[in-house]
Amino acid sequence: MFYVTMLFQYMSQYMKTRLQYRTDILVEFFSDLLSQSVNLIFILVVFGHTDLLGGWTRDEIIFIYGFFLVPYAVFSAFFNIWDFNDRYIVKGELDRILTRPIHSLFQIILERLELEGLLGAITGIAVMIYAGSRMGLTLSWYDPFLFIIFVIGGALVYGGIFIILACISFWADARTSIMPMMYNISNYGRYPINIYNKIIRFVLTWILPFAFVGVYPASYFLGRHELLFYSLITPLIGVVFFTLSILLWNQGVKRYRGAGN
């Protein structure tokens, strides 16, 4: 409960900071909107030339892409930890975090909120509606709820993986360039999983389970019941990965060496 109030406290603080720079926020809003629409056009153009890919129609692929954007938006709003090593380890900001009575990871998430990331979800939903209406998808009453659960599951998978990567900083001294690489790999989850070879498929399912951010949960709404099992374990995988990442984090914090003055 305390953590929920703190989340809202930080969120309102975030808004206030943002509103201080009035012109900034306007400019940013429009540039976000612009980049999202460029994204949308890009998707339509790229997929305009493909009709069928590994047994998936163009509209299905667009739908998966649209779905992927939603958990990704949630992830980018809350798990803005790609510069964790520089900011918190090298500069020693973690010292400050550790002297406050809130879980260290949660504090970092709060401090690094980037709520405008959530705008991406609008694009995602727009893309899904576009593709879904072309395919004539119908929704049952429980689908919106499942959608929310899948989105949370997907965001947790994403967050979990990146937290685990951030934890590397606790063990390795050197900065790693693994984060940008991971962003690339994460993109693979946007495409139908069966277009890849077996090994990549295995990796994307069980090791770096980015497939649970895009293709698996989305295929549920597409009525692809051969993947039903994977669709339904999305929240489970999310919880498991996220829990693992937190356990690893807690171990890592014990190894934190601090930065010299």
Binding site: Y10, R100, P101, I102, K254, R257, N261
Partner: protein, 338 residues
């Protein structure tokens, strides 16, 4: 609740990898690295009672910050035993930090972009301080530190002195019984320093707040602390009263004379023949310096004899400064006190 801090055989080791020279060395480093274990804090023991103000001093790299970081739960000790406020700092970290306040002089605790009072408000929520407690306590703190006019400014627009006062206030929002200050006066002007010292004294008296202070500025320690713990290469080399340190290590007093007439070293020596004095003549300043034991009797006798013999222009009595004492100790190594 008599001991705020108990430290037994506390040790922290860091693994250090030294890299070899040249490209060839860099390749060898890839496979086998030169690993060295360096004890930053080497089996130290001490206790601090509730309500004490203790100065924790040492040269750069002596292990001060490392100790403070272990005491505040930031670092996990390699071995040893720490109890602070009756808790193990790195075990129940979240519960523990509720009972301490921390100021790192070189690192800001406040949010850079938001107004000071917003930072305070957020911290108030973080520490679960009720409105009533906050008003009672913080109004006073804000007034004493004179930061009222700064409250609506964002931290990035404050000067260092202004920021430090706000940092101090921020560390006290939850009115902790124990306060850690790591170089709180670094880079501050005299007025701000004085204000901060006065404030620390006041909260120590008012709330019995225990304060552990590290600083390079010994005047801070002299103004605030009765007790000092001195650290060198990860070991405690002195733990005791500041005045005791001065008595044992302060090597007497210096009396500086300037004369109206021309005098030479031989004749002043002759004039004070019966006294245990060492004379020195500083030719540049035209000053004669008498080194003498710190006894009031002897000093007045010395002055009386000199004044009887010559006309003097100026006279100064110097005490060995704490700074000199500490420099002496570091040069000579461990302090051995009976």
């Amino acid at each position: 609740m008599s001991n705020a801090i108990e430290v037994k055989n506390l040790r922290k080791e860091f693994k250090v990898y030294s890299s070899r020279k040249g490209l060839k060395g860099a390749f060898r480093d890839l496979f086998t690295r030169n690993e060295k274990i360096i004890p930053a804090v080497n089996d130290i023991n001490f206790m601090v009672k509730q309500g004490e103000m203790v100065g924790y001093i040492g040269e750069n790299g002596a292990g001060k910050s490392t100790t403070i970081k272990m005491l505040t739960g930031i670092l996990t000790p390699t071995s040893g035993h720490i109890v602070v406020n009756g808790m193990n700092p790195h075990k129940d970290r979240e519960k523990f930090v509720q009972t301490i306040g921390v100021v790192f002089g070189q690192r800001s605790q406040l949010w850079w972009d938001i107004a000071v009072q917003e930072s305070f408000r957020l911290l108030k929520k973080v520490y679960k301080v009720s409105d009533e407690q906050y008003d009672n306590h913080m109004n006073h703190v804000i007034k004493t530190l004179d930061i009222e006019p700064l409250l609506d400014k964002p931290v990035r627009k404050l000067s260092l002195g202004q920021r430090m006062r706000c940092e101090l206030a921020a560390a006290l929002i939850h009115n902790p019984p124990l306060l850690f200050l790591d170089e709180p006066t670094i880079g501050l002007d005299v007025l701000v320093k004085l204000k901060i010292r006065e404030f620390l004294k006041e909260i120590n008296e008012k709330y019995q707040t225990t304060i552990l202070l590290t600083t390079h500025d010994l005047s801070d320690i002299e103004a605030l602390c009765e007790r000092v713990i001195m650290l060198d290469e990860g070991k405690v080399i002195y733990d005791g009263a500041l005045h005791h340190l001065k008595e044992t290590w302060g090597e007497g007093k210096e009396v500086h004379f300037q004369f109206l007439e021309t005098v030479d070293l031989q004749s002043v020596k002759a004039a004070t023949a019966g006294l245990p004095v060492k004379w020195e003549h500083d030719e540049k300043e035209q000053v004669f310096i008498a080194y003498i034991e710190d006894q009031d009797e002897l000093i007045s006798q010395l002055i009386a004899q000199i004044v009887a013999a010559y006309k003097i222009k100026d006279l100064n009595i110097h005490e060995t400064s704490t700074e000199e004492i500490i420099r002496n100790i570091y040069e000579k190594g461990e302090v051995r006190l009976g």
